[in-house]
Structures are given as structure tokens and as C-alpha cells.
Amino acid sequence: MLSPADIDSILDEIEGGRRDAFRWIVREWSLSIRGYLGSQLHHLDAVDDLAQEVFITAFRSLSAFRRGEDFGAWLRGIARHKLLAYFRSSARRDSALERFRQEVVECVEADLEAGASGDPAEVMERLLRCIAKLPVKLRRVVHAGLEELKPAAMAEELSTSVGAIYQLHYRANQLLRQCLREEAS
């Protein structure tokens, strides 16, 4: 994780005309910003597009960042504004689903922000170890999505029902969260 001194050093480089140094910022926070946006947006395309917008805006507004403050929180603030604009755009306002999602996001915004602080890279490490600890059946269910295996086919493979597959997903998530907590402590 970049320390405040590192961030100062990067900002100095950028102010000195070395725009390329901003890539360190992107490298450090792209995963967490994409994860943050991904928790509130359905499509990965939209997540990636908006995340790019966040970093472009951040780069152009670096002078507004007060050194010493939490850079990640500052980026998430920009992300929140982008999300709001996204939901408010006319095309999306017309969609009942997007309106519903916007209302949901407004309800959970504070909780999401509270959970987003910390070092995302550490969480990823733990998550990796935790997935490896999942029972074989749950790991198979988790893998199935990436392999584009339909729930019906997955259910057949595991000799169970489609509904049970959804439950297995939830169970996998539960175990992952529990494991993440244990690993953290």
C-alpha cells in the first residue's frame, strides 16, 4: 500500500511534469475503485468505463486533493459523484430497474463506504487463500460461472436442483466472508 509519503512523492513528480507517475496511483487503486463501483453497478463494461472516468477526473483535479488525507477516500468520493451522475442520466432514469438500483445504492451508500477502506490488496490475498479452503463442491460452483456453465447443467452435474445451486453460491459467499474475518484476526 502506498504510504502518504509515497503519495506526496508521486504528486511531486506529477507537478514536476511527469504525468506518467500517475500510473502508480492507478496501479494502487484501480482494483479497489473497480470493486467499489462493481458492487453498485451490474455490468463490468459500465464499471470499467466509470472507473476510467474516476481516474481521469482525479488526475485533472489533483490540485484539489489535500495532502495527508486519505487518497482512497478521495477517489471513492469522485466515484460516488460519477455513480450519481450515471444514475441520473436521462437514459437510465427511464429504466425502472436503474431507478430501483439507484434507490438501493442511496440506502447502502454509507455502509459501502465504511467497508471500502483498508488495503484491498490484503483482502485479495486473504480471499485467495479462503477460496482455496472452500469445499470442492462450492469451489466447483464458484468456478462454474467463469466457465459459463448454466445453472441447469451445473445442477445436473452435482445431482441437485437449480435453486440449490443459487443457495450454494450464497453459502460459498458466506464461507468466504467468515474465512476473511478469521484470516484478518
Binding site: W24, S39, D48, F55, G145, Y166
Partner: protein, 568 residues
């Protein structure tokens, strides 16, 4: 799972639900903190997996904003210092901690949860494209490989960025310059103010602007029209300045063109052949085509971009070796015509023709397949390619992967890597595997400028199963390609992302194969085009007797795109 939570997740993912039920769920979400926390935990997990579902996206606008990465000289010392500084801050959690980005990407394997919920619970993304990269780049007439200033294109006058594919319709630039690489081989340099209408793969209508058209080797017939006139290229490089009043000035830099004044129906009324170094004025109003002495510098220039550098992270080779390749050729040396295999005891690649190593800043070498010394010219009989100094005996267990970095000089049909039946000496070269770059869709239906992964089992001269990339490759840019076959599924990755896949029948019997790089086949029968010679650079070719996980692929790609070192 608690029923309300289940329903809320279903609704969040787009499942049909009664409005009253949704309202009730929202109320509970507002009022019940425990319920809210449970939902947020689900969202966070899904977001985390979604973020790691793919490699770092290629953010072209951000790249634009920050400037081109290779612009600065490689500062190895600074890089080393910064890496050591990074490591010194790292707690001794070992490899996992120090390679967190590699590890983060590894979670790709497990991103099925996000895909599963997102795709199966009523989301509107078709299952057919599940897991695929964005498809907005598929198809189209040309790719915008360079852009200075702003430009808009169809549909709806959207802003254009470098790397975008543009299709039929208007392309406008109030100022600045752009390079459009058409998929039929024409490169069009545009200087604003420009107002164009892209009519076809080989035809542009210019209302206003300064254009320069360069045809790739072997391509011809590109036509630039404006109201009342047309210029048809005959294998050449020419420039045209079109003013708002319809008059045009023409200069031919190389080869020749046919310049026409058109009648009302849009057919040639008068025409003139204009040769190299000649200028002409075309006046539709008076029907005249007249030679002029307008100098070449009065026309659009053809900027030469600096050759991009492949800047590999120092951990790249380590990561590849950790994936246990059967063969790994880094192209760092070429002695006695052999470039060695990094795997002890592994077979080298033998260079045939005038291949050479190109030294990149930072000490990395790449293999250069030059146009000037290609099979069409000096080495017509021999061509230039790499051939493995021995055969690959396919093991009984199915699965293989081919991974490399490549930078093509142009959009053209060219072979990257082939596996050719080696069991019968002297027999026609029958392909088992082919990885190649495409130009426009002609013989096969595919997005223009795609990458093709062909599998023929048993090996043959035709047929087989194809997986085409759903997005175009960029010429003049280093790109990471992986083609792999797990036994029953082919997968194609471009820059860390799955861009094409296809089901495939299992191999009938393990075979014995030649590995050929940079050309379709050794034989020159059929001429240069039939051998599909690659022109450009390659590096870090790896061959595996197993497939790579999406996480490995993503991490390898990421390690080929490290940020420039901090100058501490």
C-alpha cells in the same frame, strides 16, 4: 439464505418482481440495519469478484491523458530502486504479499460467482457473450490508431478515442490530426478541419479536409471521393486537400492514381493518370483536371510514430516459468541462427531468413520480422520465420496453450504461430493449430481486424474450428495474446481478456508437430501472400502442455504493462 435477502438480490440483478414487493424490500433496507449489512456484504463480495473478473482494462483515454508510456527513456536504476523500495515496505508475508497484483489477478479463476449471479438472475446481458470482452470494437471499417485533438463519429456523433473502431458514417474533426487504419490495408492520415463520410472499407467521401492515403503492400483500389470528383489509388501514396467549395488539390508521393471528374450520376466524366511527384488540381465545376506545381509540403504529412517499447516487469519471466511452460523463447540472443529455449534441455528455435533481434531500451530484445527483408522482397524464396529445432510430441493428456507478445506493423492477414503435422516428412503442410492476425472479413465471417485461433484435429489443409477475437488488435502497439485448448474448449485472450472461445472436439490421437513462427508454412508455393508472413515484432513466446488459468493470463499481461518507474 433469508428469503428477503434472496429476493433483494434477485431484484438487484434484474429479476422480474412485483413493484409492491420491491417497495417493501426497500423499506426494510432503510430500516433494518442488520438486513442492510447482510446485503452490503453480498454486494461487496460480488464487487470484489467482479473487479478481479478480468485483467486491468485498457483505458485508452486515460493513457491519452497521461501521455504515451514509451516516451521516456528506460531508467533501469530508478526502476530497480523503486522495486526495492516497494519490497522493503512489504511485510514478510512472502510471495503473496510482494506479488499482490499477481495474486489479485489470480482471483479471476474464482470470479464465477459474479458472472453467475449477474448472468443467470435475469440480467440483460446475453449468455452468448458471457465472459467476453466488450464487443464495441468488433466490425467497422477502420481503427483510429492515432488521434491529436478531438473527433466525432457515428453513431450519434460520439467522441472518438484512440483504439476505437469507426464504421459507416460521418467522421468529423474540428482540428488536429488522426490516423485511420482501414481493414483493407489503407492508412489514411487526416488533418483537420475535416469532415468525412466513411462509405465502405475502401471508400471515403471527403467534404472537407486534408487527407493522405498510404496503401499497405499488396493493397490497392482505395477511393477518395468528394462531390463531383474521385481519386482511385493504383497502389500508391497520395494526398488530397479538399476545400469547402468542392475543389481539390492532389499530390502523388509514390506510385500513381486515377483522378476523375464525375458526372451527375457519379460516374467518371474525365480522368487523368497522375504519377509520382506530380500535383494536380481537380475542379468539378469546370470539369478540369490540371497539373500544378504545388509542393509536397502543402499537403497532409504522414507522421511516423516512435516504435513502442515492450517494457516487461522483472517478474515477468519468473511468472511465466512458474506457469511451467514446455518451451519458452525470450528472444534475448540469436547465435548461429538459434534462439534458445529457457527450459533446460528444451528445443531452440532456428531463424530462417533475415530475422534479427531488436534491442529495446531497458535491455530487453525482441524478434523483428522486417517488411524490407520479407518474402516479397529480398528473401522471396526463403522468407523469414522461426522453426523449432525438433518436433513436439503431443502428450496423451489434452490441453495446450501458446502465449506471446506481438506488435504487428499493419492490419494484415499474417500468421503468428503454427503447429504443423510432422509425422510425414515431405507431405503437404497440414495445420493442427494456427494463430493468426486478420484484416477484413473475406473468406470467413469475423470482426474486421480480428485475431484467429484455428484448430484442426486431425491436422488438415482445410476445415477445422475457429475462435475469432471479438475486438480488433491495434497495429503498432505491443499486445499480449494467448490461445489455448483445454481439450474440449478453445479460448483466445487478447491483453488479458477472454475475447473469443469455441467448443472443440477432443483430439483423436496425440500427434507430432513442427512449431513454426511468423509464417503460415515453410513452403513458398502460392507466393508471399499464401505464406501470410508476419511483419512486426514478437517477444516472450511460451508454449505450454496445459492451459493457463485466466488469473495467470491476466497477471502475465499485467506484468507486461508495468507503470514507468518512479524517479525517487
Amino acid at each position: 439464505m433469508e428469503p428477503d435477502l434472496n429476493d433483494l438480490l434477485l431484484a438487484w440483478n434484474g429479476a422480474e418482481m412485483d413493484a409492491n414487493r420491491k417497495t417493501a424490500l426497500l423499506s426494510k433496507l432503510r430500516e433494518d440495519a442488520v438486513f442492510r449489512r447482510a446485503f452490503v456484504e453480498e454486494l461487496r463480495m460480488l464487487g470484489m469478484l467482479k473487479a478481479t473478473q478480468s485483467a486491468e482494462p485498457r483505458w485508452l483515454r486515460l493513457e491519452d491523458e497521461l501521455g504515451s508510456k514509451p516516451a521516456e527513456p528506460w531508467d533501469e536504476e530508478a526502476f530497480s530502486t523503486s522495486i526495492m523500495s516497494e519490497l522493503s515496505r512489504t511485510e514478510p508475508a512472502g510471495f503473496l504479499k510482494a506479488n499482490r497484483w499477481l495474486i489479485a489477478a489470480a482471483v479471476l479463476v474464482f470470479a464465477g460467482v459474479a458472472a453467475f449471479w449477474g448472468l443467470r438472475l435475469g440480467g440483460d446481458r446475453p449468455a452468448a457473450v458471457a465472459g467476453l470482452d466488450k464487443t464495441r470494437d468488433a466490425g467497422g471499417f477502420a481503427i483510429v490508431s492515432h488521434l491529436e485533438g478531438t473527433a466525432t463519429a457515428e453513431p450519434r456523433g460520439r467522441a472518438v478515442h484512440e483504439g476505437d473502431v469507426v464504421s459507416a458514417g460521418r467522421f468529423r474533426m474540428p482540428a488536429g490530426a488522426a490516423t485511420l487504419r482501414f481493414f483493407d490495408g489503407a492508412v489514411v492520415f487526416v488533418e483537420g478541419e475535416a469532415d468525412l463520410d466513411l462509405l465502405a472499407l475502401d471508400r471515403v467521401l471527403c467534404y472537407r479536409g486534408r487527407l493522405r492515403v498510404r496503401m499497405e503492400e499488396g493493397a490497392s483500389g482505395f477511393t477518395v471521393t468528394s462531390p463531383g470528383m474521385a481519386v482511385v489509388d493504383l497502389g500508391t501514396e497520395f494526398a488530397l486537400n479538399v476545400t469547402g467549395d468542392g475543389a481539390a488539390a492532389l499530390h502523388v508521393f509514390d506510385g500513381k492514381v486515377e483522378a476523375s471528374v464525375l458526372n451527375r450520376e457519379g460516374y467518371t466524366l474525365r480522368s487523368e493518370l497522375v504519377q509520382k511527384d506530380e500535383s494536380a488540381s481537380i475542379q468539378p465545376g469546370s470539369g478540369r483536371i490540371a497539373r500544378t506545381d504545388q509542393p509536397a509540403d502543402a499537403f497532409a504529412s504522414a507522421p511516423t510514430a516512435p516504435t513502442p517499447v515492450l517494457r516487461l516487469d522483472r517478474g515477468y519471466a519468473v511468472a511465466v516459468l512458474a506457469s511451467k511452460p514446455w518451451g519458452y523463447w525470450r528472444f534475448e540472443s540469436l547465435e548461429n541462427g538459434l534462439t534458445p529455449n529457457e527450459i533446460p534441455g528444451g528445443l531452440s528455435l532456428r531463424a530462417v531468413g533475415a530475422l534479427r533481434l531488436s534491442a529495446e531500451p531497458g535491455g530487453n530484445n525482441t524478434m523483428e520480422f522486417s517488411r524490407d527483408r520479407g518474402p516479397e522482397e529480398g528473401d522471396r524464396k526463403e522468407g523469414q520465420y522461426l522453426l523449432m529445432d525438433g518436433l513436439w510430441q503431443q502428450p496423451a493428456k489434452p490441453g495446450y496453450a501458446v502465449e506471446l507478445w506481438m506488435m504487428s506493423a499493419a492490419i494484415r492477414e499474417s500468421a503468428l504461430v503454427s503447429l504443423i503435422d510432422g509425422s510425414r516428412e515431405g507431405a503437404p503442410e497440414e495445420h493442427y493449430f494456427l494463430l493468426q492476425l486478420m484484416d477484413q472479413s473475406q473468406r470467413w465471417l469475423h470482426p474486421n481486424g480480428s485475431v484467429r485461433f484455428l484448430q484442426r484435429s486431425p491436422p488438415g489443409l482445410g476445415g477445422g474450428v475457429n475462435a475469432f477475437a471479438q475486438r480488433a488488435y491495434l497495429p503498432g502497439v505491443w499486445q499480449h495474446v494467448v490461445a489455448q485448448n483445454s481439450g474440449d474448449r478453445m479460448e483466445l485472450y487478447l491483453n488479458g481478456r477472454l475475447v473469443g472461445h469455441a467448443p472443440v472436439d477432443p483430439d483423436q490421437a496425440p500427434g507430432l508437430y513442427h512449431l513454426l513462427v511468423g509464417r503460415l508454412k515453410q513452403s513458398v508455393r502460392g507466393g508471399g501472400d499464401a505464406t501470410r508472413p508476419f511483419v512486426g515484432r514478437m517477444d516472450e513466446l511460451a508454449f505450454y502442455e496445459h492451459t493457463l488459468s485466466p488469473a495467470d493470463i491476466a497477471s502475465h499481461y499485467t506484468l507486461g504493462n508495468p507503470p514507468a518507474p518512479l524517479q525517487k
